[in-house]
C-alpha cells in the first residue's frame, strides 16, 4: 500500500513538474482546433485549423497566426492572417490573457488586411489550450484548440 501511495505521489509530482515547466511562447506555440464563424445566423466550422501564438520579447504583445481560414463556405479562397494582440496579464508562467480592439490584421508578409477590422478580441493561451473570440470584420468568430 505504501508503495502504491509512493508511486501515486511520484506521478503527481512529475505531473506537477510538467505543468510548471515554462513554455517559451516567444518562439511560437502551435494549436490545432476549430474556428467557428457566424454567418447568416449559422456557425460555419473551419475544422483542423492550425493557429500559432507568438509572444513578443518584452511580453507585452503577441501575434496569433491563422492559416488557411474561410469565413463562409462559398468563399473560393482561404486566408492566412495574423492578429496583433495586447497581452493583458498572466495567471502563471504558462498562461496569457490577451485582447485587441479596432486593429487590422495583416498577412504573414506584413500586408494590412483592412477588409477584416478586428473588434472585441479576447482570449487566453495556456500550456494546453488556446481560446479566443472576436469580430472579424462583420463576422463573429471564435477558436478553440489544443497545443501541439
Amino acid at each position: 500500500m505504501k508503495k502504491l501511495i509512493y508511486l501515486i505521489s511520484l506521478l503527481g509530482l512529475l505531473a506537477c513538474n510538467k505543468n510548471s515547466v515554462p513554455i517559451d511562447y516567444t518562439v511560437g506555440q502551435h494549436y490545432r482546433g476549430s474556428l467557428w464563424v457566424e454567418y447568416n445566423g449559422e456557425n460555419y466550422e473551419n475544422k483542423d485549423i492550425e493557429v500559432g501564438f507568438t509572444l513578443s520579447e518584452d511580453g507585452k504583445t503577441a501575434e496569433i497566426r491563422l492559416n488557411r481560414i474561410r469565413f463562409v463556405p462559398q468563399m473560393p479562397v482561404t486566408v492566412d492572417t495574423v492578429l496583433p494582440v495586447t497581452v493583458q496579464g498572466t495567471g502563471n508562467s504558462n498562461t496569457y490573457t490577451f485582447s485587441a480592439h479596432n486593429v487590422y490584421p495583416h498577412s504573414p508578409a506584413g500586408v494590412e488586411q483592412q477588409k477584416y477590422l478586428i473588434n472585441n478580441l479576447s482570449g487566453m493561451a495556456t500550456g494546453t489550450m488556446l481560446n479566443f473570440s472576436l469580430f472579424f470584420g462583420d463576422y463573429p468568430t471564435r477558436f478553440t484548440g489544443s497545443r501541439q
Partner: protein, 731 residues
C-alpha cells in the same frame, strides 16, 4: 562579361586568320582549281540527292533560302517574319521554333544557329539537298535532311563581275565578285522598301537593308597539303512580322503600334586543311562562328498597348571536325571515320514589357475573375512593367562516327554508326517588379519584386545507325534502299519564362496578401522547360536514271518520329506555348524529279508528296492523333521550261505548294496554290541584261498562321515582284 567574350572571339578569329597565313607561306604554290574539299558529301549512300546548280539559282531567281521551296521536292521554307525566321518543313515535319529539322552546311562548315540560316547567297556554285535523316555523317539536326551549300572556288584566273538589279518595292540588289589567283571575293548588298504596309503606322512593315562579304581562299600548300579558308560575314537591318488579323474569315491589313524589327551580324570563319598521305587522307574542318542579333516585336500585333518583346543574342561558337579515310583503294571496302565537336555560348536577353492595356487585359482581368468581390479587386497602377529574362546557355557536342561501304559487283552495302553526345547548361536570371493593391483590403499600393534564378543542365547520348544497299548493275541507273536515323537536339524553352514569371507574380502577390485560391494557378517551373532530342527513323527506297541530257529520280520514304518536339499549352500558362516531347508521328510519301537538257532546251520538274500525321499527340487538353501535322505542305511541285539561243534566254517556271493545315485540329487549311515566275535575258558581249519576276499572277496565298491572345493572324505571301538587272563581266 559579354564584351570579354566578344574580345575572346575576335582573338580566336585573328588567330585563325594568322594560322591560315602561316600555313600559306610556302613559296611553291600549286593551284588546284578542283580543290573544293567536298569532305562530307562523299558519304550519303542510299539517300536521294537534289543538286541545284548556280545556273538554276540564277534562272529561278533564287538568291536566298526562302526562294528554294518546291525546287527541291518536299522542302518548304515559308517566307514570313524576318530573316530570323528560318522555319524549314520537309516530308511533313518541321519546326516554327528552336532547333531546325534540317542541317545547313556552308562549304562543309555546319551553321549552328538557325538565326543564321537565312543569308543571301553570294557566288554559290551549287546547293545540294540530301534527303532524309543524315544523322550518321552530319549528327545533330540533320533529322530530315541536309542543305549543303558550296560557294564558288577561286580557279586561278582573274575575274571581275558586277551585278545590279532594281525592281518593285524599290528592290535593289548589287553584287561585285572578284576572283584573283587563289582568292575569291564577293560583296553584296540588298535593299527593299518592303511589301506590306503597316496601316496603323502608315509605314512599310518589312523594309530590308543588308550586306554581305565573302572571302574564300583555296591553296595547295604542297603535294600533300591543301587548305581552304572561308570568311563570310553579313549584316542586316530590317522590319518584318507583317502579320494581319484574320477575323470572321476576313484578312485584315497589318496594323500594330509597336516596333517590329530585326538586326543581325553574322560571321563565319572557316578553315579546312586536307592531308593526302600515302596511307591516309585526313580532312580537318574548323570554324568560328558569331551571331549577334536583336529582335523587337509587338507581341499582340494590334494597335493596342498590350505587350512587346525584345530578344537579343550574342553567340560565339567553335566547331571542329576531323574526317579520316584510307588513301589505299580496297577492292571491297571504303571506310570513312570522323570525329566532331562544337562548343557554343549564347547570351540571350529577352525582356517582355507589359504596357497599360496588357496589364489590364492579360493580368488584371484574368486575376480578378478568380478573386471574390468580398476579398477585393486587384490593381496594378503602373503604366508598364518589365519582365526581364536573361539566359546564359552553353551547348557542347562531341561525336564519333564511322561508315563503311562494301562494293561487291554491282552492289554496294553500307553500314554506319555515330555516337553523339550533346550537353547543355543554362543559367537563367529573371526579374519582375511592379506595384499592386488589392482594393478593398489594402489602403495603399505596395511594391512587389520577384527574382527567379537558377541553373539547368542536361546531357544526352544518341546512337545514330545507318544501313544502305545500292545496286548500280544496270547502266546509268542507281537503285537504293536505306534505313537511317537522325535526331534534332534538345534544348530549353527560354520563351516560356515570361509566362512563368507572370504566374509567379500572381501567386507571389496573393501569398504576400495571405490569400490562397481554391483553384490555385498551377505553374510549371524552370525544371520543366527542358526538352529532349527528337529522333526519327527513315526507310527509303529509290532509283535514279540518267542518260545524255535526261535525268530522272524517284524515291519513296516512310518515317516514324519518336519524342517529337511539339508545342503545347502548359498548365497555367496564359499566353505562352512551349516545346516539349509530346508526341509521335509518322509520314510516308514520294519525291520525284525529272530534268531534260538538249541543245538550248531545258526542262525540269520536281514533285514531293507526303502524308504526315500524328500518331500520338495531346496538347494538354485535346488529342490530335490521326490529324495532319500542321504547317508542312502535303504537296510541293515545281516545273520549269527554258530555251537558250546563243545570246537570248527565256525561261518560265511554276511553284505549287499545299494544302497546308494551319492548326492541329486541321480545321484551317490553306489550299494548294500556284505561283508563276519567268526570266528573260540577253547577252551583249560582256553585258547580260535580264528581266525576271516571281508570282506574276499575283496569287494571294497565306504564308504563315498563328494565334496570340485568342486572335488569329496570317502573313500573306509576297505579291508580284519584277526586277530588271544588268550583269557585267568587267575582266
Amino acid at each position: 562579361m559579354v564584351p570579354d567574350k566578344i574580345l575572346t572571339f575576335v582573338f580566336h578569329m585573328l588567330l585563325s586568320a594568322l594560322i591560315s597565313l602561316l600555313l600559306a607561306s610556302p613559296i611553291d604554290t600549286v593551284l588546284t582549281p578542283s580543290y573544293a574539299t567536298a569532305a562530307k558529301e562523299e558519304l550519303p549512300a542510299g539517300a536521294p540527292v537534289t543538286t541545284v546548280s548556280s545556273m538554276q539559282l540564277q534562272q529561278y531567281g533564287v538568291y536566298n533560302p526562302k526562294a528554294l521551296p518546291a525546287l527541291v521536292p518536299g522542302i518548304h521554307l515559308p517566307d514570313y517574319g524576318s530573316s530570323m525566321t528560318s522555319s524549314i518543313y520537309v516530308r511533313g515535319f518541321g519546326s516554327r521554333m528552336e532547333n531546325p529539322v534540317v542541317g545547313l552546311y556552308m562549304d562543309d562548315f555546319p551553321i549552328l544557329d538557325k538565326n543564321s540560316y537565312d543569308l543571301d547567297y553570294l557566288d554559290i556554285a551549287s546547293i545540294r539537298f540530301l534527303h532524309g535523316p543524315q544523322g550518321t555523317a552530319y549528327g545533330r539536326n540533320a533529322l530530315f535532311g541536309v542543305i549543303s551549300v558550296r560557294s564558288e572556288a577561286p580557279d586561278g584566273e582573274t575575274m571581275l563581275r558586277a551585278q545590279l538589279e532594281y525592281g518593285l518595292a524599290h528592290h535593289v540588289r548589287a553584287q561585285v565578285s572578284w576572283h584573283q589567283g587563289e582568292h575569291a571575293f564577293s560583296l553584296g548588298y540588298r535593299h527593299s522598301r518592303g511589301w506590306f504596309k503597316n496601316e496603323y503606322k502608315d509605314a512599310w512593315a518589312d523594309p530590308y537593308n543588308g550586306g554581305q562579304l565573302r572571302w574564300r581562299w583555296d591553296r595547295s600548300l604542297s603535294d600533300r597539303w591543301q587548305m581552304t579558308n572561308l570568311l563570310q560575314t553579313g549584316i542586316s537591318a530590317e522590319g518584318g512580322f507583317a502579320y494581319g488579323l484574320w477575323k470572321d474569315g476576313v484578312q485584315h491589313p497589318v496594323s500594330y503600334n509597336d516596333e517590329g524589327s530585326y538586326r543581325r551580324v553574322t560571321v563565319l570563319e572557316g578553315f579546312k586543311l586536307r592531308y593526302q598521305g600515302e596511307k591516309v587522307q585526313v580532312d580537318g574542318i574548323a570554324s568560328l562562328q558569331f551571331l549577334a542579333d536583336r529582335m523587337r516585336m509587338d507581341q499582340d500585333y494590334t494597335p493596342r498597348n498590350i505587350f512587346t518583346l525584345q530578344q537579343s543574342q550574342l553567340s560565339p561558337a567553335h566547331t571542329l571536325e576531323v574526317i579520316v579515310r584510307p588513301t589505299r583503294k580496297f577492292a571491297h571496302w571504303k571506310p570513312t571515320s570522323g570525329a566532331f565537336a562544337f562548343f557554343k555560348y549564347n547570351r540571350m536577353e529577352a525582356p517582355v514589357l507589359f504596357k497599360r492595356e496588357g496589364i489590364q487585359t492579360l493580368i488584371l482581368d484574368n486575376a480578378n475573375k478568380g478573386i471574390p468581390e468580398d476579398i477585393g479587386t486587384l490593381d496594378i497602377p503602373d503604366n508598364d512593367f518589365l519582365i526581364s529574362s536573361n539566359f546564359d546557355i552553353l551547348t557542347w557536342n562531341v561525336a564519333l562516327y564511322h561508315e563503311s561501304h562494301f562494293p561487291v559487283g554491282g552492289w554496294q552495302f553500307t553500314a554506319g554508326l555515330r555516337l553523339d553526345y550533346e550537353g547543355a547548361k543554362m543559367l537563367y536570371d529573371c526579374t519582375a517588379s511592379l506595384h499592386y493593391q488589392l482594393i478593398g483590403m489594402m489602403s495603399s499600393v505596395r511594391p512587389y519584386t520577384d527574382h527567379y534564378r537558377g541553373t539547368l543542365s542536361h546531357g544526352v547520348p544518341v546512337l545514330l545507325p545507318k544501313l544502305a544497299v545500292e545496286y548500280n548493275g544496270f547502266p546509268n541507273t542507281r537503285i537504293y534502299t536505306s534505313a537511317t536515323k537522325g535526331y534534332r537536339a534538345g534544348g530549353f524553352n527560354t520563351q516560356i519564362f515570361s509566362d512563368i514569371l507572370q504566374n509567379r507574380l500572381m501567386n507571389g502577390m496573393m501569398d504576400d496578401l495571405g490569400v490562397h485560391f481554391d483553384n490555385e494557378r498551377v505553374s510549371i517551373g524552370a525544371d520543366r522547360t527542358e526538352y529532349k532530342p527528337e529522333e526519327a527513323w527513315n526507310f527509303e527506297l529509290g532509283a535514279s536514271f540518267h542518260k545524255d541530257g535526261f535525268r530522272a529520280d524517284v524515291n519513296a520514304f516512310y518515317i516514324t518520329a519518336l519524342r517529337q518536339q511539339l508545342t503545347v499549352f502548359p498548365p497555367g500558362m496564359s499566353t505562352g506555348r512551349m516545346m516539349t516531347n509530346a508526341g509521335k508521328s509518322r509520314s510516308y510519301g514520294v519525291e520525284a524529279q525529272v530534268s531534260y537538257n538538249k541543245g538550248g532546251f531545258a526542262a525540269h520538274a520536281a514533285w514531293g508528296w507526303n502524308n504526315a500525321r500524328f500518331t500520338e499527340y495531346t496538347d494538354g487538353t485535346v488529342s490530335y492523333a490521326g490529324n495532319r501535322i500542321p504547317y508542312s505542305p502535303e504537296h510541293t511541285l515545281f516545273a520549269a521550261l527554258g530555251y537558250n539561243w546563243s545570246k537570248v534566254s527565256l525561261q518560265a517556271h511554276m511553284r505549287g505548294i499545299g494544302p497546308i493545315a494551319w492548326n492541329e485540329q486541321n480545321t484551317l487549311v490553306e489550299p494548294f496554290y500556284v505561283t508563276l515566275g519567268a526570266r528573260a535575258s540577253v547577252e551583249l558581249g560582256r553585258v547580260l541584261l535580264y528581266l525576271e519576276g516571281e508570282n506574276l499572277t499575283n496569287t494571294r496565298y497565306k504564308a504563315f498562321y498563328f494565334k496570340s491572345m485568342g486572335n488569329e493572324f496570317f502573313q500573306l505571301g509576297k505579291p508580284i515582284s519584277l526586277q530588271l538587272g544588268i550583269q557585267i563581266r568587267i575582266i
